[in-house]
Symmetry: C2
Subunit: 456 residues, 2 copies
C-alpha cells in the first residue's frame, strides 16, 4: 500500500472515505482508554492533523497502547467519518508499527511550552503546532515571492555574500578570514584583501538590472549589530528587487502589488495556520491581512507631510517628531495603526539621513527614498529611485568619503547606458512578523543568530 | 503609450503586427547607412532581440544616427514584418529618445570577447549574449527547483550560514569574527564562541525533516579550499533536500525525477538560450539534455560494480581504479560519457571515505551513500541514507573524533522519534555547468569568489 501524506489525506478526504490508507509520521499526543486509544498524528505536510483511533481489535493492542508521545510510527487503517469535526480526517487503525521510539523524558510533552523554552530546544520546536504554522508560512511566502517576480519576467540573481565592499558605509560587518589572528593584516588573506559578509546585494543587483531590466535577489545578509531587540538578528534573509526605467512612484506601485500578492497567497494556502496564529497572537491578524487586500491603494505621504501629521499629536510621543530627522518606532506605529489604519508609504526623506546612492530631489534637501510602514511590523520595505546622474553621485560619495576608485564599477553604471532605475529591500523576517503576528525575530527564523547566541 | 518588454513583444508578435509600441532598453549594435539605420535592441527580458529600423523620416535623424553602442534608449514605433526571420520582431521607429549615453570607449563593443576578458568586467558581462543566456538559465533553473519541491509538499528551510559546528569534520572553513586580530581568542567574540561559515545545511535540515517529513534548502555555502580549478569556488549555492521515511533507493528515484524536471523546464522555457549555448559550446548540449529525458531510468551500480567496470579498461587511466577507494574524475567521465552514455548512480561506497552520518551497511565495509554522475559535469549530486541507529552513529563519531556533546542535538534526533531518512546535496553551479555546457564555474555565477579574487 502506498504511503500518503496527511496533506493528500485532507485534500482527498471525500474520495478516500472508507478506503484503506497508510500514513507515516509522529505521535503528538496519545490518549488511552481501557479498550481504545486516540493518537494525534502528524507528518508535517498539513497543519490539519488526522486523528488515529484504534481499539482492542488492533494487532498487538498492548504494544500500541504503550506508544510514547514523539515516537515515529507507520499507521495502516481505514478512513472513517470524524465525529469530532467533518474537516478533520480520522483513521481507524488496523495496524500501527513503531518506526522510532521516543523516551518519556522527551522535552516536547503535550502541554503549552513558552517560546523562550522552545528557543532552547530549537531543533525540536518545528514539531510544535506554533512552529509548524510559522515555518510553513515562511516556506509558502518564499515561494510566493519567487512566483511574483518570475511570473513578471524578473531575473533571480545571486549576489555575493563575501565582499570587499562596504556598501552602506556602515562599519557593522563580520570579518571573513582564513588566517590565524597573528597573521591577519600581515600575510595575504584568502582573497588577497580584507573581506566581510555583505549587508546588501543592491549594488550588484543594479549591475544586473542594467542588463536584464528587472531583477531581484533573495538571499541572506548579515549585520554585526550588538543589539538584543525583538527585531534584530545578525543573519537574516532579504529580498532586493531592482528595476530599470522605473521611478519612485512606479516603485511604490510595485511594492504594494508585491505585498498584496504575498498576503493573498498565504491567505489562500495557509488558512489553518493563519487561523491558529490569529488565536495564538490574540486576534486581529486575519483582519489586518484581509483589510490590506480590501484597501484599493495604500496612502502615500511625503516625509514632510508625515511629520506635520505627527506634530499635531500632543503629549504622546517620547521623541518629538522633527522635519529633517528620522522617525521613531512610536511615530511609525501611530501612522500605521492609528492615523492611516493600514500601510503607508513615506517618501522624499531628508537627504542627510539616507544612503549615498539615492536620487537627489530638486529641493536640495531630500532624496527620492521611500519607506513602506505597516501595522505591527513598522518599516517593511525601504527603497529609492537611484541617483543616475554621474556628477551628483560622485559628489555625494566624496562628501561621505566613499571611495570612487573602489566603487568605480558602480559609478560606471551611470556612464555606460545608465537610466532611471529604482529598487527596494524587504527584510524577509520582518515580513514574517507581519504575516504571522509572532513578534520576535527569533521565532520566525529556524536558527537565529544574535549576540552571544549561535546554537545548532 | 505603455512600455512593453521585448518578451511581451515576442510572445504577442502576431497580435501586435502593425501596432504602435514603446520599448525601453539598450543598443547592442548599431549599423548605419546613409538614409537609414539598424539597431540590435535588447532589454534583457527576452533572448530573441528585436531589430529596430529607422529611416531619414525619423525625428532628428542626425541625433539618432549618432547613437552609441551601449546607450539606453526609448523607442516608439510600429511593429512590421521582419524580412530577416519571421520569429525576430522588427520595429520601424518613429522616435528614438536617448535615456543614458555611453562613451566610445565602452568596453563591450560588438565583437567577440574572451570569457577571461569578460570576467575582468564582470559587472558589464550580463549585457552580452553569452551571459544573458547563462544567467537567464540560472534564474529559470532556480525557479524550477523551488517549483519541483513546493508542488510536492516539501518545506523550504533556511539553514544558518554562520555556524559553530564543523559538520563535515573538515577544516576548510572561513572564520567569522568581529574582533580585531589582537583580541581574537582572548575576548568573547560576537557570538561568544568561535564561528565559521557553513559548508552544509544538512544537519539542520534533518531536524526539520523530522518535523515536516519533506524539506529542502537552497542557499549559499562556503569552502575555503585553496584550489584554482574550473569547478571550485569559495562561495556557491547548494540545494539539500532531506526526506523522512525514505531509503537510499527511494532517494535515487527522487534525484532522477528532480533532475529531469529541471532539464524539462529549462528546455521549455529557454529554447533560444540553449540553442545559442549549444552552438557556443561546440554542439552536443541539446542532445545530451534531450537524451536524459528520453532515458526511462538512469543506470544504478554499486561502487564495487563500478570499479569492476573500470578495472576492465586497460591502459587508459592515470589513476588505477581500486575497490575500497574513491574514484577519480577520469573514471567518472568514462562511466558517464563512454560506458553508460548518460547519468549513472553509484551507491554503497566504502565507509572510510565517506561522512560519519551515513547509514552503515550490513557488510561492515560500505555505507548507503550515492553519487549521481552526469556527462560533462561529473558528480552532480551526493547523498545518502542517514545512520538512524543511535549506537552506531555515536560509535562512528567517536572513531572520527567528532564531539557527541557539541552535536548532542543531532544525535538526539535518533532518540526522539527517529526514522529511516535520506537526503542529498546538489551544487547549483555544478548543475549549471551541466545545463549550459559552460565549463568554468566562474562563468555561471554572477560574481565568483575564488582564491585571491573578490571583486565587485
Amino acid at each position: 500500500m502506498e504511503v500518503i501524506t496527511t496533506r493528500a489525506l485532507k485534500e482527498r478526504l471525500a474520495e478516500l472515505q472508507g478506503q484503506e490508507v497508510c500514513l507515516q509520521g509522529w505521535i503528538r499526543n496519545h490518549r488511552k482508554q481501557k479498550n481504545m486509544g486516540f493518537i494525534d498524528f502528524y507528518d508535517g505536510t498539513c497543519f490539519k492533523n488526522p486523528q488515529v483511533v484504534y481499539d482492542s481489535g488492533i494487532e498487538d493492542f498492548a504494544a500500541v497502547s504503550a506508544l510514547h508521545v514523539g515516537a515515529a510510527i507507520t499507521v495502516r487503517g481505514r478512513v472513517v467519518p470524524s465525529y469530532k469535526d467533518p474537516t478533520t480526517p480520522e483513521v481507524q487503525a488496523s495496524a500501527i508499527v513503531l518506526e522510532g521510539d521516543c523516551p518519556e523524558d522527551y522535552p516536547l510533552q503535550p502541554k503549552r511550552h513558552s517560546v523562550e523554552f522552545l528557543r532552547e530546544i530549537a531543533y525540536l520546536r518545528p514539531r510544535t503546532r506554533l512552529f509548524q504554522a510559522v515555518f510553513r508560512i515562511r516556506s509558502v511566502a518564499s515561494m510566493a515571492i519567487h512566483t511574483y517576480f518570475q511570473d513578471r519576467g524578473y531575473l533571480y540573481v545571486h549576489t555575493p555574500l563575501i565582499t570587499a565592499n562596504d556598501a552602506e558605509g556602515a562599519g557593522n560587518t563580520f570579518t571573513v578570514t582564513t588566517l590565524p589572528p597573528e597573521k591577519q593584516g600581515k600575510e595575504p588573506d584568502f582573497f588577497g584583501k580584507p573581506t566581510s559578509l555583505a549587508v546588501t546585494g543592491q549594488l550588484e543587483a543594479e549591475t544586473f538590472a542594467m542588463a536584464f531590466s528587472k531583477v531581484y535577489t533573495f538571499g541572506p545578509t548579515f549585520r554585526a549589530e550588538n543589539s538584543n531587540t525583538k527585531t534584530h538578528a545578525a543573519e537574516f534573509w532579504m529580498i532586493e528587487p531592482e528595476v530599470a526605467f522605473c521611478d519612485i512612484h512606479q516603485l511604490m506601485d510595485i511594492e504594494e502589488e508585491f505585498l498584496k500578492f504575498i498576503v493573498q497567497t498565504v491567505l489562500e494556502k495557509c488558512p489553518d495556520e493563519l487561523a491558529f496564529l490569529d488565536k495564538f497572537t490574540g486576534g486581529g491578524l486575519l483582519d489586518k491581512l484581509q483589510q490590506l487586500l480590501a484597501t484599493p491603494k495604500a496612502a502615500r505621504v511625503t516625509h514632510e507631510e508625515a511629520i506635520t501629521i505627527l506634530r499635531e499629536v500632543k503629549d504622546r510621543f517620547q521623541f518629538e517628531p522633527r522635519y529633517g530627522e528620522d522617525t521613531a518606532k512610536e511615530h511609525e506605529k501611530y501612522l500605521t495603526e492609528e492615523y492611516f489604519h493600514g500601510p503607508v508609504f513615506v517618501y522624499n526623506w531628508p537627504r542627510d539621513i539616507k544612503a549615498f546612492y539615492m536620487y537627489q530631489n530638486d529641493d536640495g534637501k531630500t532624496v527620492a527614498a521611500v519607506d513602506l510602514l505597516v501595522p505591527g511590523a513598522g518599516e517593511l520595505m525601504g527603497g529609492s529611485q537611484r541617483e543616475t546622474r554621474y556628477d551628483l553621485l560622485v559628489k555625494r560619495m566624496d562628501e561621505l568619503h566613499i571611495s570612487r576608485e573602489a566603487m568605480s564599477w558602480y559609478v560606471n553604471l551611470r556612464r555606460f547606458g545608465g537610466c532611471t532605475h529604482s529598487g527596494f529591500g524587504m527584510g524577509f523576517e520582518r515580513l514574517l512578523i507581519y504575516l504571522t503576528g509572532v513578534d520576535n525575530i527569533r521565532d520566525v527564523i529556524p536558527y537565529a543568530r544574535t549576540p552571544m547566541n549561535c546554537e545548532f
